[in-house]
């Protein structure tokens, strides 16, 4: 079967899918894509199941070579300059690499994570129903760790050879990140909650797949920062002793001992995951009814991505349009290579303030 060989890859790049569910009660984090909508878009482009495993590519550049046949790929998520053996190609589209050709991807221009889906899916051995890499637990397939140069990703089925396609996704713009207060908002004063909701926040450079540490005002606690550990979810906003909130991400500890002021709504999880370090944003509290309404709308969007596919009629026109977009997006990424971790080091949980 045809395969992709990883020629160049940066840190925090790994195989991810919809995640591993059902074992959080044993301390096993769900892992899975940081931006599910982008994962689903990449998969839709090549006709895969919505949450099939794909390559999640961190902020840095990457290259992949096709071997043993053609490989059709879908590219979505954080946009990048891309070419196939020197031929510029547009983003949010499917493309076919002929045997021996190389796909070159630049830095993420906006956002942090891009997704590369392989037509037919990535071959691997699911563990608890998932190929998603969780380095701390030594889980994931075909490699139980972030990707390295030389790794091989085999397609399950041959490329289908149908016309290439692009996908049009709604643009969310500069809207605030919406949260539902709780479960432990009663551990904070009204003033602390107001300060949290009224302030500008920045994603810290020490963020990773376990959690995004935020920079902004110090959020004080009412009764100290230790609570008896209880369960966490993707998007839990816990506030450790130093008052700097942490938004928990898919590789989080399944339980945590710091009060959780609020939770990011599921429709906005992928949006905050895409924020680059230094990105300034605000939170907005919404009602449970609104959050659940948005969750249903988001699920509907995920389920109707195939309706947003368009056949690429004229590749050259698209590339010219992309060239224009590149001018606007040419600013150097604010991401600092030294602060993104390719594999969780022994002190990773300590950085997240999660010493048990």
């Amino acid at each position: 079967m045809s395969k992709l060989i990883v020629s160049v890859i940066g840190p925090v790049s790994s195989v991810q899918d919809g995640g591993r569910h059902g074992a959080q009660r044993y301390g096993l984090a769900p892992s899975g894509a940081m931006d599910r909508l982008a994962l689903a878009a990449a998969n839709a482009l090549v006709g895969n199941a919505s949450l099939a495993a794909a390559i999640e590519i961190g902020p840095f550049g990457a290259s992949f070579a096709a071997r043993d046949g053609a490989v059709r790929v879908g590219l979505a998520g954080a946009a990048r300059k891309a070419d196939i053996s020197g031929r510029a190609i547009p983003w949010d589209c499917s493309m076919t690499l002929s045997e021996g050709e190389t796909l070159n991807l630049g830095f993420a221009r906006s956002g942090s994570f891009s997704y590369l889906a392989i037509d037919g899916g990535i071959a691997g051995e699911p563990i608890f129903g998932s190929l998603a890499v969780n380095s701390r637990a030594g889980l994931g397939s075909p490699y139980p760790r972030p990707l390295q140069a030389g790794d091989e990703l085999n397609a399950i089925a041959p490329a289908t050879g149908i016309a290439e396609r692009r996908i049009e996704l709604p643009v969310s713009g500069e809207l605030p990140i919406r949260v539902v207060l709780g479960p432990q908002d009663d551990e904070f004063s009204k003033d602390s909650i107001e300060l949290f909701l009224q302030s500008e926040w920045k994603v810290s450079a020490t963020s990773d797949r376990m959690g995004y540490r935020l920079e902004g005002p110090v959020i004080g606690h009412l009764h100290g920062h230790n609570i008896v550990s209880d369960g966490t979810v993707n998007g839990s906003i816990q506030v450790p002793g130093n008052g700097a909130p942490i938004v928990l991400m898919p590789d989080r500890g399944t339980t945590g001992g710091y009060p959780k002021l609020a939770t990011v709504i599921s429709a906005d999880l992928g949006r905050i995951a895409q924020f680059q370090p230094g990105k300034v944003f605000r939170f907005k509290a919404v009602s449970m009814a609104e959050a659940q309404g948005e969750a249903l709308k988001f699920m509907k969007l995920m389920g109707t991505l195939p309706d947003r596919l368009r056949t690429i009629e004229n590749l050259h026109l698209n590339i010219e349009a992309l060239g224009d977009a590149n001018v606007a997006g040419a600013a150097v990424s604010a991401v600092d290579a030294a602060t993104w971790h390719s594999s969780p080091s022994a002190d990773a949980p300590a950085r997240q303030g999660e010493i048990t």
Binding site: S229, G231, I265, M288, A350
Partner: protein
């Protein structure tokens, strides 16, 4: 007629999970109710519930808001939580072998000094305890046990260690724990077990369930080394005493 139990707090954890909180403290009665609700959920199959995570004092219930909304699920959870506790029928008790002290438990002597006794006495106190898995969390297989005798209760270390060995048996606060993977910890390290509470490609992958009973037995370093090889090869090493 059986009286209903006190009402837990139904707390939102975003749009797809509810925290059912029975207490804000580490409280054995609350933990019993958490585990009872967890069993009831397993039996009842409430539509839309995808996963439950029991902890000392609360049950986290993940659900699909397309199938059930916050208010309806919250109401259902309160009904189930207020039902009288049913004693469990299948109680599992494990005996877990531990090599105490030395390089395997580097805080044993310090713990003995703190409470003015000998390391041997600390081991005797730890081994005579009857514990229950109150929760598993943080990292895969990290099992938090309730039932630590009061003389061994002590605050966590001022400076947590960034790396403690796989298989560490430790005490912290009012708890003792079985740690599976190497990782950070602020607890006091008493010993080490060859038992893997989590091991891929072994049946079962996770040895302990919340609610299981646990006792410890002291073994020497040579036995530990043998057991470690056996565990590496996929043996459970832990002994199932009652099932």
């Amino acid at each position: 007629m059986a009286t209903t139990l006190s009402r837990p707090r139904i707390l939102p954890s975003g749009d797809s999970a509810i925290t059912v909180e029975f207490s804000s403290k580490i409280d054995d009665a609350a933990n019993q109710r958490v585990l009872a609700l967890d069993r009831a959920m397993a039996k009842d199959h409430v539509a839309g519930v995808t996963e439950t995570v029991p902890t000392y004092r609360s049950l986290l219930v993940h659900y699909d808001p397309a199938l059930i909304d916050f208010d309806r699920l919250g109401q259902r959870l309160i009904e189930l939580a207020e039902l009288p506790l049913v004693p469990t029928t299948n109680k599992r008790r494990w005996r877990i072998p531990v090599v105490y002290g030395g390089e395997h438990g580097m805080d044993l002597e310090d713990v003995a000094k703190v409470i003015n006794t000998t390391p041997e006495d600390i081991v005797a106190r730890h081994v005579r305890g009857e514990y229950r898995v109150a929760m598993i969390g943080f990292t895969p297989g990290w099992s938090y046990l309730s039932g630590l005798e009061q003389s061994l209760h002590m605050p966590r270390r001022q400076n947590p260690r960034l790396l403690t060995p796989a298989g560490t048996i430790s005490i912290g606060g009012v708890q003792t724990g079985v740690q599976c993977l190497a990782g950070p910890s602020g607890w006091h390290l008493l010993g080490q077990t060859a038992v893997r509470t989590y091991q891929l490609h072994r049946q079962p992958t996770f040895l302990l369930e919340p609610g299981d009973e646990v006792t410890f037995s002291a073994v020497d370093a040579k036995t530990y080394a043998e057991q470690d090889r056996a565990a590496q090869a996929g043996e459970l090493v832990a002994e199932l005493i009652v099932s």
